[in-house]
Symmetry: C2
Subunit: 339 residues, 2 copies
Amino acid sequence: MATMQQVADRAGVSIATVSFVVNGTKYVTPATTAKVTAAMRELKFRGNVVARALASRRTRIVALLFPTTGNRFSPTTSEFFMNAAERASERGYHLVLWPVDPAGDDLDDLVSGGLVDGVVLMEVRMDDPRVVKLSELGVPFTLIGRTRDAAELPYVDIDFETTIEDGLDHLQGLGHRRFGLVLENLEGTPMAGYAPHLRVEDTFRRSVVDRGCAGTVVYAGPGSEGGRDAARRLLEADPDVTAVLVMKDDSSAGLLVGLYAAGRRVPDDVSVLSIASSAAAGDQHHPRLSTMIAPGRELGVRAADALIDRLDGTSTELPHFLLPCVLRPAESVAAAPTR
Amino acid sequence: MATMQQVADRAGVSIATVSFVVNGTKYVTPATTAKVTAAMRELKFRGNVVARALASRRTRIVALLFPTTGNRFSPTTSEFFMNAAERASERGYHLVLWPVDPAGDDLDDLVSGGLVDGVVLMEVRMDDPRVVKLSELGVPFTLIGRTRDAAELPYVDIDFETTIEDGLDHLQGLGHRRFGLVLENLEGTPMAGYAPHLRVEDTFRRSVVDRGCAGTVVYAGPGSEGGRDAARRLLEADPDVTAVLVMKDDSSAGLLVGLYAAGRRVPDDVSVLSIASSAAAGDQHHPRLSTMIAPGRELGVRAADALIDRLDGTSTELPHFLLPCVLRPAESVAAAPTR
DNA sequence: ATGAAAGCGCTAACAG
DNA sequence: CTGTTAGCGCTTTCAT
């Protein structure tokens, strides 16, 4: 663990010079640069990130905040993370996934003293206490998701409104007039107020009325059982329903089973459309589920960019980026590998 | 961002005293403690993690290394992470998920200067370059997984050997004599040499011979298509196969479809057993897949404990912890909620 | 029981 | 172009 001073001694220069060549902060003669570089090699100099952070007030580390709730990682979540991390890496930052409690109480030690230069929030609720916390703390941050009023906040998000309209357009085009919507029930949990749910439900209810159609919303409990039960309750509320949107991957299977159990064939009697999901999840079922695929990759990249733009001062404008899920009908064949 | 010095001034004591009460490092009179505490409240003192780290050479942050490969997070992976993080938190540490390239080339800046006190590795390969790197760097670490020769390394892992034997016992008990094994094909990728695959394949081949049974191994490509194709090739290699083990969640669905397509009914003609998987994944299918569930929770907790024990000097012995997956037959009913 | 002071390893003026 | 030096905010002997 050679120090910079040791490198300086070895190279016969001052510590400042070493710092300059390490950071490219100032011009240094090729000759001395060479001496320094050699000394670094010989001593296997690594540079102390912590010391540098203390002195320079930046770490080039950013955190993606993940709520420590029982909920698992969805494929979409995973996509956010991997792609945001990759993008950050391309831009010279490290992005790490940081578990924090949903209330944001343990945000302090994360941020205090500049352990991270900035954070991106995911799994955002309509009124998310974490954004208040972060604002107070004065850390640069961006959201994957939106609070109720996010006009002043930098965010990237799925355009749920458009997604739902597109989904309903598609189904209505197929002749459907009576719709169902299956959502996760988060009431009473720390994730209550989860923005995607509320936006989707709102849009669904409103749009269905606008279209002069029938719409029924049911909340599913956890897992396959939850989906089964949701099917039962949906059919009870509207026995004539012919198309249902599901936004809960882990209960899609149960939903299908529940529909079959009630004598409905899918897709002949009832169409099922999984929303804000992934190709992989849709493929789990047979027949393959029609799916509105979340743009996880794009959003991850955009979120990283949005944050790093502010950190680097590359861009000063407030990013507001919305992207709808794209429909992949069940009958579509997997595209040939492009690489 | 009040500093410790400011707190000291406000309380009329020295900075050392503040440090003592903050860390409980030394006894301080209740009276002065009170003064200091008050000053901290008033100034909203947070403490600078980076400065502390530089001075004390520890951050109480540990990293879970996740290889930045195309592969997504499995539910089991997610379970490792969440539970390890929770356990770490209980023991006063922060655990973050840190993406590093599989070769371990970017491990230096993570570790240099003690940014993290220790790391836990996952997705371990038989000859994992990262453990070499980490040894050189001198960072305390533990594995979730095992290299080929892990006798000298601290690890927790799934007992794949026992898992396979148990699975085969189960199937053989049902009367099966001709087995198939579906594995992911990682050849040519950075994750080639992934230890679970090699151990499972080895054990399977050996055990099947010991049992005087037939065994066929096929490698599946990605996704549902991969599973379908695997089914085709499996049946081509052994048309009389009646039981197949799959260790690749995302192609189970395809496998089932492929079997149906070839005229085999599941489970009547062919039994399918998903191994090292999760209850949630098994429930995605209909009929529900028999599953050997990975002990993700237990392993996550154990891994965190193993690492932190070394960091805190709580325990000095080399942890070698193996736990097999537990069988959940398809016909089993979901247990009633226990809370 | 508390304080003084010497670092931890590096950055960034400011000189020269 | 390179060196001097004063911090960054906190921990930790060593005194008192």
